[in-house]
Symmetry: C2
Subunit: 693 residues, 2 copies
């Protein structure tokens, strides 16, 4: 079983990476040509007013491309390793479940932690080595060097896009396909080995939830760091060549990893969870504890590594920032992230009123379930939005764009813990799947179900983090783009026709993108439904358990569908900045980025939470853990059937469209930043306006 | 029957207006106090640098309040008259249906046209009289005068808010309540007189779709005109006291009304629709013809009334506009509106591929129906968004904020035709209801159904218009607010912390508002379901047709629920500009308005079209007019049941939340404009920032 899943997952990843490699090769050429053409492919170093030798366009083109490839490769390796840990951990957890809940929890949580530290450490290490090498090449041209480094973020994020979109379509096509025929038509339980799509479903959980999410958060980390580095390279830190000051963004992450390691010990050695009831609180306290310890740690770090006062080019005006200002920015990010996570939990966990209300509405049918679920998602945007706005305001006011980048890094500093908690969910989910498929007995399945239920809630926290940090990261990148594209306060007025039109079109992009991804899931799921129906109809003895289903065929269908379906949304995201920048110029692009950011955040939050709430409302009715839950009728009742419809609608919202929107806003911003030098020198006012203006 | 409906509708409106009067009285005090306090309740006229006597704050407070009350009263009268025409027309149409389709169509269309011309003419006349009177009072202080006139827009829009939200909750609570018990549980047909909620349902169609929509478009017209007047009062037209030039915005509307009257004759006298197939094209060509004739008419008007060149204060810089520039702005609005309308039709009519695809997806159940419907709504934002962006860019570039206001007026110039077409839908829908309730026979019901089907599609066109014009109107008001609040290009930069945070929070408001309205519909519908169930259980002989249902009780429940539920969303919309302006200052408010605008437009379009598509997908399956439609199984099949769930979800989206969002964005902008003088003189940087900064 485990081998089949691992084989399926690896085969998907290999096929995906094959497609992605072609794209990467093409895009590398684009990056190289566009950036090198900035000064007409010159290869001579030029001295600027301050007497610093500046690297020529050819260098920037070359090294940006190299950074792009390395970023992409790191992301691919991280995804691959993470998934292999996960598939191994699945089997291990289901075996440990025979001994009891506590050992199974430990196996799942440790695996998650290994993955978290591996990804975070790997990302940091590669970036650091890259900086050290580029430093030799670029000499004193730190601005040029950190600009080239930005390619690293673009590379990581591009892979994340394909991972999230491709993986998201894969996992949901398999899931919906398996459920619609298996559970609804044939009335066999979830994860039943007779269902031909069951392996594809499990593969999907690994490639979508683990590889996709890992790549997403890796991208956020890489981009936030790059944004902070670009902005600080034009500050007095960069001008005075304060190496320690410049490494501050990297050190926040390093400190975060160390704090998270310490906190992990609490769960594994000092106070391990012993019973099922402990699990949820153990996971939650991991995050709260990380946040609490990270605050003083980052204070000490800030005081030691930043000069007590430095001048920065913050949003076009030079501002003096004190070191404690920057600490406040970081702290606002750390705590903002925690609050967003907890609010997400409140709206998506079935221990609180909102999800119970949605479950209640199932009594009058699927329509009211959908209406209440949508309303819940809309409502859940309120507090996170205020939190992000506070982080933005604090960061902006105290440290300009650098402050926002630091807030983003603060939010991401507990990344390792987040990843550990987040990976725990799919690991225990799949452990349950394996237990079912391998017919390991009812009691073991019950244990893994309990583990899974706790994981579901904490995974929601991780999603909240991902969205919140994505918003801050995009804004930091947006700020770096503004700085690099030479847009000053006067030319970024909301009253500029290009900016306002851009704002409107930008805020439409998340809708366009979601329309594409949701329809893709629908189409891929329909293909899967037909295949599963076909197998049930043609393979003799399948229902009786004597015939063997063709798992491989389902895996192939999911793979093919997801890969062909991920191209149009991918092209939309990757193409927009280039097309807008070239045709309409840097100001229009400014509007588009800001519009996509503000509208994408709302959609991402509401979609994820709506989907999560429907999922848990269904589980609430199934589990029947309280008087109220039992009054709804349990499995098989009309209310449960309504809840299943809601859950199915929620699948593409919470696992495909919602999380992909994070990447949309980040990727468009980092891509604009990378291409800013080209736009500035060649298409500042847009080719279209030059032709017709 | 007709009497019962008219009585119910009037009683709802009277109760609603009672609540609204209390609110209006309170809000009048707020307007008076805040605006008069601008210069400390002074009553002395002061001479400005140019030697013009400026009216004191007390005058502005007094006359703004008066304009506010008159605007509100006009809107109330319009809504009341419109609804009485409609309820009379309902009965008339169902009687005419006995003679055939053509006379019935004529009755319904003529009534719609009467309503359209009445509302448009009334709005224009009152505004014109108001300006003539105020001119006597204000003397040469045209700036102050047109600022006070803005109260007219605010009044009209406030009523529209309550009309749309209250009416929307009413109509959907009654509709969902009647359907859930009647159609689903008791299996009796729609509009069956045995259903106790049937009168409430029909009342709802009148108060929601007719009074609400009329008030909405009246508000748009009043606001667009006010915005254009305010902006042009600070241009050279105002400074040179060019009365004809100042009246240009009013004359666009006047020309529009005349053109529309001419076009109506084509449908009533020259080429009246003779068969059912003619109806849809007749209605559609009304709009296309109005647009085509309006273009040269507005060209002639522009050349006659505007000086060939004039200088305006357009977004903080003085720009010279030529008269043909302004004509291009108007024309872009006229044609932009038509294209948005036709795109809306494409996405919501079941003669095209999108809705048929949604109907197709019902085969695999309600979940895929919902997923495909949501995706369709998201996708339908693309072209309207580009169209609005083009109108904005054209208007902004050629005539600054004045250009945008003119584009909005251009879009609204075909208002009378739009209203006629739009009102036609609910009139024929209710005619069908009356035919059913009065047991007038199968053939008559078939005729009214055919009329209704055509009306459904053209009503979608009207909704597209309403959203598109709302976006332009809000932007024009936003521009006038910016001008009045003294925000220049430097202080409106997207890089300002207050503006960006405001942008993010503003783009969240439509979500918050929708969460409220959707939940309200759910709650009100649940109350209705319980009452209907109760009546079926307790009134003897109700199912057999011997007992008489208590219609009045259902009407009362809908009325009470909708009125109490409309307060929180109303408070959110009316309160936000005041709270943000006072606590956080004019810049933060700028961000909030822009954010609400760009995000609200997307949500309004996608919600309306998603709901419309679900509705028509259901009708497509029911009608079974094509081979493909029949293959889905028709009424009672599984696909039809799935489609009914989609339709029920769509009801609050398309008739409550979606259309209310238009008003949210307009109302917040006009309110900010009215209060701008107060914010500017007292809370420019926000009380909160003053306290802690």
């Amino acid at each position: 079983m485990q081998d089949a899943i691992r084989e399926g997952a690896n085969s998907f990843l290999f096929t995906e990476y094959k497609y992605v490699s072609v794209f990467m090769a093409l895009f590398s050429v684009v990056i190289f040509v566009l950036l090198s053409s900035e000064d007409g492919f010159s290869s001579t170093w030029k001295e600027d007013e301050a007497g610093i030798l500046r690297a020529p366009g050819l260098y920037n083109g070359m090294f940006s491309t190299l950074a792009f490839i390395i970023g992409a490769a790191t992301s691919i390796v991280s995804g691959y390793l993470g998934m292999n840990i996960a598939t191994y951990a699945n089997a291990r957890t289901s075996l440990e479940a025979r001994k009891g809940v506590a050992p199974a929890f430990m196996a799942a949580f440790r695996s998650g932690a290994v993955m978290g530290f591996l990804l975070a450490g790997n990302a940091l290490l590669v970036l650091y080595i890259l900086i050290m090498v580029y430093r030799k090449v670029y000499g004193d041209d730190w601005e040029g060097m950190y600009e080239a480094i930005t390619g690293y973020g673009l590379g990581g994020s591009s892979i994340a896009l394909f991972g999230r979109v491709g993986g998201g379509i894969y996992t949901k096509a398999a899931d919906v396909g398996a459920d619609l025929v298996g559970k609804v038509e044939k009335d066999i339980p979830e994860d039943d080995p007779r269902n031909p799509a069951v392996i594809a479903d499990n593969v999907g959980d690994n490639v979508g939830d683990i590889a996709g999410m890992g790549a997403d958060l890796f991208g956020s980390f890489a981009e936030a760091t790059c944004a902070a580095l670009v902005v600080s390279s034009v500050s007095s830190l960069g001008a005075n060549h304060s190496w320690v000051g410049m490494c501050y963004p990297l050190m926040i992450t390093a400190t975060g990893i160390m704090v998270c390691i310490g906190v992990t010990l609490v769960a594994t050695d000092f106070y391990p969870a012993k019973t099922v009831d402990d699990i949820e609180s153990t996971l939650k306290y991991q995050l709260i504890l990380s946040t609490a310890i990270m605050t003083p740690a980052s204070y000490i770090l800030t005081m030691l590594s930043l000069p007590s006062e430095f001048t920065g080019l913050f949003a076009d005006a030079s501002v003096v920032a004190k070191s404690w200002h920057i600490f406040v920015c970081v702290a606002s990010g750390i705590w903002g992230g925690l609050i967003i996570g907890l609010v997400t939990e409140y709206y998506t966990s079935n221990t609180y009123e909102p999800v119970q209300g949605v479950a209640d509405s199932c009594k009058t049918g699927a329509a009211t379930d959908i209406i209440f679920g949508l309303a819940l998602g809309y409502k859940s945007t309120i507090i996170p939005c205020f939190m992000i706005a506070i982080c933005i305001f604090t960061g902006f006011t105290l440290g300009g764009m650098y402050g926002i980048a630091c807030a983003a890094l603060g939010m991401l500093s507990t990344l390792a813990t987040c990843l550990a908690i987040d990976a725990y969910g799919p690991i225990s989910d799949n452990a349950g799947g394996i237990a079912e498929m391998a017919s390991m007995g009812e009691d073991i399945r019950e244990r893994t179900d309990a583990l899974d239920a706790a994981g579901n809630t904490t995974a929601a926290i991780g999603k909240g983090f991902a969205i919140g940090s994505a918003a801050l990261v995009s804004l930091a990148l947006f700020g770096a783009y503004i700085t690099r594209a030479g847009i000053d306060v006067v030319h970024s007025s909301i009253l500029d026709p290009k900016i306002f039109s851009g704002l409107l079109v930008g805020s439409m992009l998340p809708y366009w993108f979601s329309a594409m991804t949701m329809k893709s899931v629908g189409k891929a799921a329909l293909a899967m439904v037909e295949e599963v129906r076909h197998q049930f109809a043609t393979i003799q003895g399948l229902m009786e358990g004597t015939g063997r289903p063709n798992y491989r065929r389902c895996v192939e269908i999911s793979t093919a569908a997801s890969l062909s379906e991920m191209i149009p949304p991918g092209a939309l995201v990757m193409g927009t900045p280039v097309v807008v920048g070239i045709l309409f110029g840097v100001q229009a692009l400014t509007g588009v980025l800001a519009g996509a950011l503000v509208s994408g955040v709302q959609m991402a939050i509401s979609m994820s939470n709506t989907g999560g709430a429907w999922d848990n409302a269904k589980k609430y009715i199934e589990a029947g853990a309280s008087e109220h839950a039992r009054s709804l009728g349990g499995k098989g009742s009309d209310a449960h059937k309504a809840a299943v419809i809601g859950d199915t609608v929620g699948d593409p919202l919470k696992d495909t469209s919602g999380p992909s929107l994070n990447i949309l806003i980040k990727l468009m911003a980092v891509e604009s930043l990378v291409f800013a030098p080209f736009f500035l020198s060649h298409t500042k006012d847009g080719i279209l306006f030059k032709l017709f203006g």
